[in-house]
């Protein structure tokens, strides 16, 4: 996994204090759908260098964070900008859908 992992402290910092435009994938190690979405994100990340940041949260390590966003499954990609939650894509997210959502979130 090349996408930087966040714990709850880092999560607060990046999303709500620094108000970064970013996405966060919530995943679990043994989830096969996650294993399809993560490589897609890894491939996309360099294209968005410095403009839009990519992070990940391992839900087994950060349970409360997962529960906070009324999520019931992994993987889910959550989008944030200016300290606000801007929506999510659940399940087998296609690259096109993610790109579209990033464009929308960056405005």
């Amino acid at each position: 996994m090349n996408i930087e992992k966040l714990n709850s402290t880092k999560f607060e910092e990046i999303i709500y204090e620094q108000e970064c435009a970013c996405l966060v994938i919530f995943f679990r190690k043994n989830c096969h759908v996650c294993k399809e979405v993560i490589p897609e994100l890894e491939e996309m990340e360099p294209e968005y260098k410095d403009k839009f940041l990519f992070y990940s949260v391992d839900i087994e390590e950060e349970r409360p964070l997962f529960q906070r966003f009324t999520m019931k499954s992994v993987p889910q990609v959550l989008f944030f900008n200016k300290g606000e939650y801007r929506g999510k894509i659940a399940g087998l997210a296609e690259r096109d859908d993610i790109e579209e959502k990033i464009a929308e979130v960056m405005g």
Partner: protein, 406 residues
């Protein structure tokens, strides 16, 4: 420029990987294009207990072995999705989502199948907020809660039992009469006796209910027509699979109504040089071992086909003598008579020609290539180029005269 391969395999599940192992071993220049995780559906399986030689293995581990085996024979892999194919020429063309183009002498379609969506209200909207398709991924999220399972096949019942490890109760919605499940007997007995499992018979789902997350599901009894809502926090949809074969829609490949590809026992489709293996073809048993068996058969058939095409092309372009391609149908007496007449005439002319007989039932691609529509037919070729079509209606002496002056 499109990159060229001998053998191109679309799909990297067990069927495609087995074909790749055989293709690589036969020294065919082989590429596997696979859109998801290599290993396909088999990677989604926690426990495999029926693959020969492995008493108990996880899907991802078994598929890692398959892939490493293929790589050891020099097979190449590309992570991409095939979106368009053109099988009308001898060289098959393939285009991917990332806009790459490839050409191949033979193609094996091993795309497997994907979960069928019911597309009922709420299903899409609440995906990830209670609507789920993967027990391994999501069962834990429903610790101590009520969960509904839709379907009664192997996957629904076996995965449903896995969910009971976490959920308070699992209610299974079944289309059939009481006691009838589509899954295997062993699982059915276990499930029916399971303390945490309940069944609602003769019913389908109409709607998933909830604003932010799932609160319940509306079900309808198909016998009485009555609808009712049951409360739950999670719904797993396991209502069967559909073949992932949409991209071949206009390629002239025969399928059944549901999109499963029709093949013969050599895995040949209705297009020469194109084969189908594994879950995406019409077959009796959809398992890893049978997908792998299909893959082996198809790769060997493809190898032979590639050899035959090459031999034929070499024979024609290198022939010192003028080549006469004689197209015939072995089922027709007049076709066979015509063949013997051709042999006699060529004998009288001291074997002036290199006569190549082409069986209509075997070599459909050559018919297309040489524009032949009826049998018998004769096409004369010199140094690889067609230079004359001989009228097959001529009688023996007229034919002799005609061929004398070619």
């Amino acid at each position: 420029m499109a990159k060229e391969y001998d053998l191109l395999i679309i799909g990297g599940g067990p069927g495609g990987l087995a074909a790749a192992i055989y293709g690589g071993r036969a020294k065919l220049n082989t590429l596997v294009i696979n859109k998801g995780a290599v290993g396909g559906l088999a990677t989604t399986t926690r426990e495999i207990v029926n693959y020969p030689g492995y008493v108990n293995v996880t899907g991802p581990d078994l598929m890692k072995d398959f892939k490493a085996h293929a790589e050891s024979f020099g097979v190449e892999f590309l992570k991409d999705e095939v979106v368009e194919v053109d099988f009308s020429q001898e060289e098959k063309s393939i285009r991917t989502k990332k806009k790459k183009e490839f050409q191949a002498k033979a193609v094996i379609i091993a795309c497997g199948s994907e979960p069928r969506l019911l597309d009922i209200p709420g299903e899409r909207r609440l995906r990830g907020s209670g609507v789920a398709y993967c027990a391994t991924c999501d069962a834990e999220c429903f610790e101590g809660e009520d969960v509904v399972v839709i379907g009664s096949g192997d996957q629904a019942i076996e995965e449903g039992m896995y969910v009971t490890k976490y959920a308070k109760k699992v209610t299974v919605i079944v289309l059939h009469d009481e006691g009838i499940l589509d899954c295997n007997k062993v699982s059915a007995e276990k499930a029916l006796a399971h303390k945490k499992m309940e069944f609602i018979w003769n019913s389908t789902v109409e709607e998933v209910i909830g604003d932010e997350e799932v609160d319940g599901v509306k079900i309808k009894n198909i016998k009485t027509g009555d609808s009712k809502t049951i409360a739950c926090k999670g719904i797993f949809f396991w209502v069967g699979m559909v073949p992932s074969t949409k991209f071949i829609n206009n390629a002239g490949i025969n399928t059944d109504q549901r999109g499963y590809i029709l093949t013969n026992e050599m895995m040949e489709t209705s297009v020469d040089g194109v084969y189908a293996v594994g879950d995406n073809r019409v077959k009796y048993l959809r398992q890893i071992v049978s997908a792998a068996g299909d893959g082996a058969t198809a790769a060997v058939a493809a190898e032979r086909y590639i050899d035959e095409v090459k031999e034929f092309n070499d024979n024609i372009s290198n022939s010192e003598k003028t080549v006469l391609l004689v197209f015939f149908d072995p089922k027709l007496a007049e076709s066979l008579e015509f063949l013997s007449m051709m042999e006699r005439v060529n004998g009288t002319l001291n074997s002036k020609f290199n006569v190549v007989k082409i069986d209509v039932s075997m070599k459909k691609n050559l018919f297309k290539k040489y524009g032949v529509t009826t049998v018998p037919a004769i096409v004369a070729i010199e140094r690889g180029n067609v230079f004359e079509r001989v009228d097959p209606a001529l009688d023996e002496s007229a034919l002799l005269k005609k061929l004398e002056c070619i």
